[in-house]
């Protein structure tokens, strides 16, 4: 695929709060191109004095959503790009983006499964694109998502995930809350470990196709845990976004 990767001016068409720290920005693109679930866009801010800041953000929307992309972005303390987007940017503003980018951390319905998705915090974003694509494509590939967050209120897309899990298409979701849990919590309450992975991955057989996205240390722990329970390395794809994103 030899395509020139050009910067273009996207217009913010909508902003939606997902959690106190996370917002979804719907961008209208003059040159929209169908993406593959798991890909990202680069976003660039430029000041009048020439200073530039650039970050990569995963696409949350399904490829089937035409003409626009949704980027779900966590506000990082001292993060100059995410702070601008959360506190300054409003509907109608224009920002420079280029994409879609990447081909490694990508899932398409044709790749099949069974599918094991593991996300930490806003690492769920590219996995959500995969799940939305799976639903839009009518795929019934057995799929399980293990999502780790600090607290119940930090679970991004919770209502949509629960609805997807109830639609009878073979998708199940598991949550683990590492910092605080509601009093009636029935999910996991610890960091992802090999025992948790064995329970969640077990019914998917010995060689599920695995996608892990989250903070670096979570990705390391999950990838090592999967190796421990015997998942072959060539079935595991990872995307790390640093200590707490940027």
């Amino acid at each position: 695929m030899n395509l020139p990767l050009q910067w273009q001016l996207a217009t913010i068409a909508a902003v939606r709060s997902e959690t106190p720290e996370v917002k979804t920005f719907s961008l209208h693109l003059p040159d929209w191109m169908r993406h593959r679930a798991g890909q990202h866009y680069d976003l660039r801010l430029r000041a009048a004095d020439g200073y530039e800041a650039q970050r990569s953000y995963s696409i949350a929307s399904a490829p089937e959503t035409e003409g626009q992309v949704q980027l779900t972005i966590e506000k990082i303390n001292d993060g100059e790009v995410s702070s601008f987007l959360h506190e300054v940017a409003v509907v109608g503003d224009r920002i420079e983006v280029r994409g879609p980018i990447g081909g490694y951390f990508v899932w398409e319905a044709a790749l099949g499964g069974p599918l094991l998705l593991i996300g930490g915090g806003s690492g769920v974003v590219p996995l959500m694109a995969m799940l939305r694509h799976r639903a839009a494509a009518g795929s019934r590939v057995p799929t399980r998502l293990l999502l780790s967050a600090r607290s119940y209120d930090d679970l991004i897309y919770r209502e949509e995930l629960d609805a997807l899990a109830a639609d009878g298409s073979g998708f199940e979701v598991f949550y683990t809350l590492t910092r605080s849990q509601p009093s009636d919590w029935h999910g996991y309450s610890r960091r992802i470990d090999a025992a948790m992975l064995a329970t969640v991955a077990g019914p998917l057989g010995r060689t599920p196709l695995c996608y892990i996205c989250g903070p670096t240390l979570l990705v390391e722990a999950a990838a090592n845990g999967l190796a421990e329970i015997g998942v072959p390395a060539n079935r595991i794809r990872t995307e790390r976004f640093g200590p707490s994103g940027s």
Binding site: M1, G102, Y104
Partner: protein, 94 residues
Amino acid sequence: METEADDVNRAMMLDGNAVAGRFAALFGAEMTTSLTECASCGQDHMMGALLAFTHAPGVVLRCPSCEAVMIKLVETPRGVYLDARGAAFVRIAR
């Protein structure tokens, strides 16, 4: 011996996906699924799977098998410096 700096570097580590945009702009092709071979240990990996250290003036990509430095990329106002002496090859898709 693991030092505190090693821990910090480890926590800041990304992967090849994080520099996909820069490589795509440079090579005119999607590079994260491009195969590359570590010149130190001989293992083949896709570029997206390399360990990426981006919190420096340049980008350093290391082999996920042996952690040897494979590729360094530094962008300056006058041009882009690409040091790939740690890679036996990088396959750029047609």
